[in-house]
């Protein structure tokens, strides 16, 4: 594997231009002239005028957080989500405990049992978000793409109990039925085209 494409840091030239900045004055006289011209030219009002003009134009670009939020990149690692299987709606989590094992801040704990369908069922699952460092190892190690990172980055709440139980993270079943669960494209997700590299198992007789 070559590292060339990673080493090329040329980000392109479209839309970039050089800003015309005067050199800083070096002599005492030069400094005096700069202060005098800035004080007398009224440059301050140029800026104030821009604000005033934009205020009356009602075309404001400010994001009205927290009412408005900017979209966040798919690889961003915020509060975890637990996904369901699209077809059946059952939880993807099989209780293998790998997330619990790999967690470097030791904030995941789970309890499992043998359920009535002879499957391993997760009875309790919690991530202590107060300790979580959002490293993404849990999502990466998950063999079922069950635990993923979501885009919810606000971690303020009145109650500790909100940090965070399995049910809080799990896609609600009605949301799933409404087609609102999306396959996670970020950390730990399957690389596009990985189907090609999967070998058939001998059980495919």
């Amino acid at each position: 594997m070559s590292f060339e494409k990673f080493k090329d840091r040329n980000v392109g030239e479209d839309g970039y231009y050089m800003v015309d900045i005067e050199d800083y004055p070096e002599t005492g006289w030069g400094k005096f002239k700069q202060v005098a011209s800035r004080s007398l030219k009224g440059e301050l009002f140029v800026g104030l005028w821009v604000v005033l003009r934009e205020m009356f134009k009602f075309d404001i670009h400010t994001v009205q957080y927290p009412k408005e939020k900017l979209p966040i990149g798919p690889r961003y690692r915020a509060v975890h989500k637990m996904l369901r299987l699209f077809e059946s709606g059952t939880e993807r989590c099989i209780g293998c405990g790998l997330c619990e094992k790999i967690c470097i801040s030791d904030c995941i704990r789970m309890d499992t049992k043998y359920d009535e369908n002879s499957r391993k069922e997760v009875t309790e699952y919690s991530i202590n978000l107060g300790r979580c460092i959002f490293c993404g190892y849990c999502a990466e190690v998950c063999p079922e793409l069950a635990i993923v990172h979501g885009g919810r980055y606000e971690n303020a709440s009145e109650q500790r109990a909100h940090f965070v139980e399995f049910e809080d993270m799990l896609t609600p079943i009605d949301a799933l039925k409404a087609g609102q669960q999306e396959e996670f494209p970020g950390f730990g997700a399957i690389i596009p085209g990985s189907d090609k590299s999967v070998k058939k198992t001998p059980l495919a007789y």
Binding site: I94, C96, L98, D111, T112, K113, Y114, R119, P202, Y205
Partner: protein, 746 residues
């Protein structure tokens, strides 16, 4: 002196004793030869062929597990050919093995997983059409045939070590699987512990935790006098609790030692106490100040027993432990004739014995490890096994070569006949009066043991090198126990037999060696796990006036049947007061109860070893390095055996104090996996004789205790003696285990 064999493994000069296999030598020398089916505690089944090695001058590979080395042979344990041979064996094992490591209980400690990675198998190039096979649940044991690799470890351990012959292979080529004759299964879970994959699983533990999450605490089992090596595995239960740990399962060194069902499944008997109850403690201290007697039982560590002894020395308490007192008297009388403070046999000598007589013990339930040892002796050494007991034991049917039934109450006479049969001439000289007085005809008639039965026993004794006599609680609690003990001492001293006197309770031996026990009670008593005016109890649930830690929550040592002082570590935290706190409040000074470990009496054979210095492991060849062994004290012998008393007849309904399988005490009863109702169990014959029916509630009186129990007909029982359990009571019994009772319907 057997000849030592010199040979080389991988160029290293090694020595083998007679009977050792190449694999055993390699393990002793620390040379790794991979195996899948080999179990050190059973004879090799040679089914996996992973242990193949190359021997110079021999065509093809040699199985190292069952081949003894020859003089001067050069063995190669690893080569390219061997590697690819082993790799192809692993490929075969992996055929259609379900890829469910993610949820499998065994993942993380799985032999198949380890060796598959070890041999670099990352793909499977062939497969067989899979078939539907149903999982099965046999009580505590679950079996998933899809995961089974047919290594036969479980069947060999069930046949050879446990001796119940419940598990067997249902052959069918690729469809072969293990099956269980459930009526023979004693629910010991040995098969679970030896299974290299997840096929044999504990029903209770299944899917409840990954093995790597569990913290391991090596300790000793607290339920019977074998005090087996075990490891408590614990973690915090659930996600919301902090610091409240639970034991999830118990494991053992499955390659070398075994556990019975009580040890493996009866682990959750801890006493959960959230905080120190200062009021109750103050009352307890004043109760101790006002009492003149301490009653306790043998569910106690050596250290606490010594602590009680120190309290006695300092404050003059009377120490009452009826059961240990009886054992102490028995042991002292034994010593007075044998000249040694301890009996000579241990479990290993039973395993290696070629002729075993057990008398007066329902070994299957009294002490499962004795039964396991008998099984090894019978299966491996083709030992002659004579079981002398008034009740025939269906569970021992596979093992017993000769069953000698004697009448209830005639133990003294039966042992006298055995004495007459096996001791040498010098004994007959020393104890002349006894032998002169012995009327074999009378004893034979009263005990119902035919002289031809004894003749057979005697005939089979010829050319046996290591005979062992196992003596059980029926003899220890007999009204003529002292004379019986002297006879046992005579057998120990004057015959080829080595004798074992099974301690009836967990630490009976330790208590009897440490404590100076009294027989007369004082006016007011404090009880430690025993009923009294003020009770300290480890049972919890408001059983006592002050809570105490259970044995799984204590540090300390136990003295076991092997005369070994073994360490126990605290598996779970205990937040209340313990006996040592009370002793300190009374004026003793020791920070921890284990400070007493070094002070254990050397004159009784204990060594001066600090608790933290006690070893607790096995060597690579399975040698037990746990704690230390007691040193037997040799003394002068002057006592002679007295003439036997008249044999008392037991007529009518006779009941026998005997617990069901896996039950020993209220602590095993507390464990959630061992569920038994305390029933009076008897045969159909007993029901007819006592005029009661199955399922009826009956009342009877034993000594001063009135029992009300449901009667149950047990098809596996024979004869006219019913079994009355005692596991639901903390009382420690010194009385004879058989009782003639009047049974009335309620």
């Amino acid at each position: 002196m057997s000849k030592m064999i010199q040979f080389t493994i991988d160029g290293r000069q090694v020595t083998a004793a007679k009977g050792e296999s190449i694999l055993q030598v390699a393990r002793r020398e620390g040379i790794y030869i991979p195996t899948m089916c080999y179990l050190a505690k059973t004879s090799p089944s040679a089914s996996c062929r992973m242990c193949v090695v190359e021997a110079e001058g021999v065509d093809g590979f040699v199985l190292s597990c069952n081949t003894p080395p020859t003089e001067g042979i050069a063995i190669t344990s690893d080569s390219q050919e061997l590697y690819s041979e082993r790799q192809s064996i692993m490929k075969m094992y992996n055929v259609n093995h379900p890829l469910q490591c993610g949820v499998c209980d065994k993942s993380g400690e799985c032999d198949l997983q380890n060796k598959t990675l070890d041999f670099g198998l990352d793909e499977q190039t062939f497969a067989v059409a899979d078939q539907r096979r149903d999982s099965k649940v046999w009580g505590v044991l679950s079996y998933d045939p899809h995961l089974c690799i047919m290594c036969e470890k479980c069947t060999s351990v069930c046949n050879e070590v446990v001796g119940s012959e419940a598990l067997f292979i249902r052959p069918g080529g690729y469809k072969s699987e293990i099956d269980n004759t459930f009526s023979k299964c004693i629910q010991c879970g040995e098969c679970i512990s030896v299974c290299p994959v997840g096929a044999m699983a504990s029903t209770d533990f299944e899917y409840s935790s990954n093995v790597w999450e569990l913290e391991k605490v090596p300790s000793a089992c607290a339920h019977c006098s074998s005090a087996c090596n075990l490891t408590y595995e614990k973690k915090e239960k659930g996600t919301a609790t902090l610091g409240a740990e639970s034991i999830y399962r118990v494991t053992n060194e499955d390659d070398f030692d075994a556990l019975c069902g009580a040890g493996r499944f009866g682990y959750d008997f801890e006493n959960r106490v959230s905080e120190k109850d200062e009021d109750a403690f103050a009352i307890a201290v004043s109760a101790f100040e006002n009492a003149d007697t301490i009653r306790f039982n043998s569910m106690i560590s050596n250290e606490e027993a010594l602590l009680l002894q120190r309290l006695k020395e300092r404050f003059g308490y009377r120490l009452i432990n009826k059961e240990a007192k009886k054992y102490q008297e028995f042991l002292n009388a034994f010593t007075s004739v044998s000249g040694s403070s301890l009996y000579s046999a241990d479990l290993e000598s039973i395993r290696k014995s070629d002729y075993v007589v057990t008398i007066g013990s329902a070994v299957s339930t009294d002490n499962p490890m004795v039964r396991f040892a008998l099984s090894v002796a019978v299966n491996r050494r083709k030992s002659y096994m004579a079981y002398m007991h008034p009740i025939e034991d269906e569970m021992l049917r596979n093992l017993v070569t000769q069953y000698v039934k004697y009448e209830v109450g005639s133990e003294e006479g039966v042992l006298a006949m055995l004495c007459e049969m096996i001791v040498d001439e010098s004994a007959k000289e020393t104890h002349k009066a006894f032998f002169d007085d012995l009327d074999i005809g009378y004893v034979s008639g009263e005990s119902n043991v035919g002289e031809e039965e004894l003749e057979l026993l005697k005939k089979k004794l010829v050319r046996r090198d290591d005979p062992v006599l196992v003596i059980g609680a029926d003899l220890i609690n007999h009204s003529n126990a002292v004379n019986i003990a002297k006879m046992a001492g005579m057998i120990e001293r004057h015959s080829a037999f080595s004798v074992m006197i099974i301690p009836p309770e967990t630490n009976s031996l330790g208590v009897s060696l440490i404590c100076d026990l009294d027989s007369e009670e004082g006016k007011s008593a404090v009880g430690y796990n025993v009923a009294a005016d003020f009770v300290l109890s480890a049972l919890g649930d408001g059983e006592g006036d002050l809570d105490m830690p259970a044995l799984s929550q204590q540090e300390g040592t136990l003295t076991n049947i092997d005369k070994r002082v073994v360490p126990m570590n605290a598996a779970l935290a205990y937040h209340g007061y313990e006996l040592n706190d009370i002793a300190n409040a009374l004026g003793m000074k020791s920070e921890h109860v284990i400070d007493y470990t070094v002070q254990l009496p050397q004159e009784s054979g204990f060594s001066q070893v600090r608790f933290d210095d006690l070893p607790n492991h096995y060597t690579d060849v399975g040698e037990e390095v746990r704690g230390y062994r007691l040193a037997p004290m040799v003394s002068e012998t002057s006592a002679t055996v007295d003439a036997i008393s008249d044999i008392r007849e037991f007529n009518g309904s006779v009941i026998y104090r005997c617990d069901p399988l896996m039950q020993f005490n209220p602590f095993t009863d507390k464990a959630h996996q061992i569920i038994d109702e305390a029933l009076l169990r008897g045969s159909e014959q007993f029901a007819v004789a006592a005029r009661i029916k199955d399922g009826e509630r009956v009342r009877f009186t034993v000594g001063e205790d009135v029992y009300e129990r449901v009667f149950k007909v047990d098809e596996r029982l024979k004869g006219t003696v019913a079994l009355n359990p005692s596991f639901d009571s903390s009382e420690n019994y010194e009385s004879y285990r058989y009782n003639q009772v009047k049974i009335e319907r309620v």
